[in-house]
């Protein structure tokens, strides 16, 4: 396996990060509508895309301080407290399995020229709370097309970086590390599925899985594997970390489903952070129109 070398000058030094990160703003800048560098408070989506929710967005502070990132600790604030020195530069992603050219890529190399856009998605945690997050990223299908999986590839598996020196809880065995998640290839190719590299117009903060993480808005949040270091194209359904821990509680699909309870708590309602009253959880987290057809004929109680 060959490691693609980082260029002598970092990509971010050649292209100002803001332009590199935001195609829409780039277009506006070239058409003479330049505006000041983005700050979180000033961040506003220029146009609402077809997949964006217009629900009010969860504040940046809440999104970046209320996380489940068990590699940094199991409290909600563990990630924001313990991830400050997490090194995301340089970052290498190894692509393996049934793919035209299995090799390791430098992060900048891998995502070069992919269309970066903002997506405002609901995020429903399996624990019963939810957020609305303005992600910035690219459609996974664009990357998959570029990587050219072979006909044997039926699933995509993702792994978080394994680095116990930086991710201290990986020294403890309450979960099988590194964190593994996966998607069926058609789920991975769905236009809703993105790899996020930012939120609120800024590069992805460490607590949210810097530099790159998966976002699958119709599934429970734990499917969104963070700080991805490995992408594998495989022919068998991967055993994910949570399935491995408790197969009766966490399935491979993990589609948001108000009528299939977690064995220990109800999934019928959720608390949107910032709201007092609970709201009803929607099938496929409100994305049924875009994704339900992928599961037609499947018993979603069995394939939870």
């Amino acid at each position: 396996m060959r490691i693609t070398k980082l260029p002598d000058i970092a990509e971010s030094e050649i292209t100002p990060e803001d332009i590199f990160m935001n195609r829409r703003r780039f277009i506006e800048m070239t058409s003479g509508l330049a505006f000041a560098a983005s700050s979180v408070d000033a961040w506003a989506q220029e146009t609402r895309g077809p997949y964006d929710t217009d629900e009010s967005k969860t504040p940046y502070k809440d999104i970046t301080t209320y996380n489940n990132f068990y590699e940094f600790g199991t409290d909600k604030d563990s990630a924001s407290r313990n991830s400050k020195n997490f090194r995301t530069q340089p970052w290498t992603i190894s692509v393996e399995g049934f793919v035209k050219k299995p090799q390791a890529y430098a992060f900048d190399e891998l995502i070069r020229n992919l269309t970066i856009e903002d997506r405002v998605y609901r995020m429903r945690c399996v624990e019963g709370w939810s957020m609305v997050i303005p992600w910035r990223g690219f459609e996974l299908r664009a990357l998959i097309k570029r990587l050219e999986p072979t006909s044997r590839a039926r699933f995509v598996e993702f792994q978080t970086l394994y680095a116990p020196d930086q991710l201290p809880e990986q020294r403890r065995g309450f979960l099988a590390w590194p964190y593994v998640e996966g998607l069926r290839l058609d789920e991975a190719m769905n236009p809703l599925t993105i790899l996020a590299v930012g939120l609120y117009g800024k590069p992805l903060p460490n607590p949210n899985g810097a530099p790159i993480r998966l976002v699958v808005p119709w599934k429970y949040g734990f499917k969104g594997v963070k700080s991805i270091a490995k992408i594998r194209f495989v022919d068998k359904q991967p055993v994910t970390t949570w399935m491995n821990l408790a197969p009766d509680e966490y399935g491979f699909y993990a589609n948001v489903n108000p009528v299939v309870d977690h064995p220990r708590w109800s999934q019928a309602t959720e608390r949107r952070l910032g709201e007092f009253f609970k709201r009803k959880t929607l099938p496929f987290n409100g994305y049924a129109d875009q994704v339900a057809s992928m599961y037609s004929g499947m018993d979603l109680r069995k394939n939870f």
């Binding site: 969860t58 504040p59 502070k61 809440d62 301080t65 209320y66 068990y70 199991t74 909600k76 604030d77 624990e127 709370w129 403890r172 309450f174 979960l175 821990l245 309870d261 220990r264 708590w265 109800s266 608390r271 952070l273 910032g274 007092f276 009253f277 609970k278």
Partner: protein
């Protein structure tokens, strides 16, 4: 002038109240996390368990140190355990479920961890009611003592409640389980030993 004894009672009272005041302070100044209801639920639950365990320390501590005065704090500690349990219960019924009674009954019926927590709390109610001197004399010492052994059941149910709700890392509930097993183990040992002596000298039943 207040006596030393009274001073320590007030100090203990204030110490027990501190977590509640601290939590209320964080809540009103907006310094809880993005999910304050969850924080309040977790904090009140944790303090209930801690105070149950602290209450269970009183008798062994007395036996171990010979400090008989410690027994005077037992009722206060037990009532504070009930107080935090009540806050925890109220948080669930009011803030979390907003009095959706059918959902609550379903929760208790369908989910073992809610059932365990609910049992733990319900068992504390008769103990709180009968914690007065009047009730001790009304029931008689032995009966009262027997009734108040429900504390052990309540404590075990509280641990089960905690263990059952954790997703993966059971280190913390296991730490509490370990402490409880020591506190109950001490009592079992004492019971076994007193049985043995009782069979020899036909003495009275030991208190636990």
């Amino acid at each position: 002038m207040i006596s030393i004894r009274r001073f320590w009672r007030v100090a203990a009272f204030l110490a027990c109240l501190t977590p509640a005041v601290w939590l209320a302070g964080l809540a009103f100044t907006g310094n809880l996390s993005a999910n304050p209801i969850q924080d309040i639920t977790e904090q009140t639950g944790t303090w209930t368990l801690r105070l149950i365990l602290i209450t269970l320390c009183v008798t062994p501590l007395r036996a171990l140190t010979g400090w008989n005065g410690v027994i005077r704090y037992r009722r206060m500690l037990g009532l504070f355990a009930f107080f935090y349990g009540f806050l925890h219960f109220l948080t669930y019924v009011w803030l979390d479920q907003f009095f959706a009674l059918t959902d609550i009954f379903q929760d208790v019926y369908k989910r073992p961890f809610i059932a365990a927590g609910f049992s733990s709390f319900v068992l504390m109610v008769p103990l709180a009611i009968t914690s007065t001197k009047k009730w001790i004399s009304r029931l008689g010492g032995r009966k009262w003592q027997l009734l108040h052994r429900l504390t052990y059941v309540s404590a075990i149910a509280a641990i089960a409640h905690y263990l059952w709700l954790v997703k993966a890392d059971i280190r913390r509930p296991m730490a509490y389980a370990f402490l409880l097993s020591i506190l109950l183990g001490v009592r079992v040992l004492k019971l076994l030993r007193s049985r043995r002596t009782a069979s020899v000298v036909d003495g009275t039943e030991a208190t636990l």
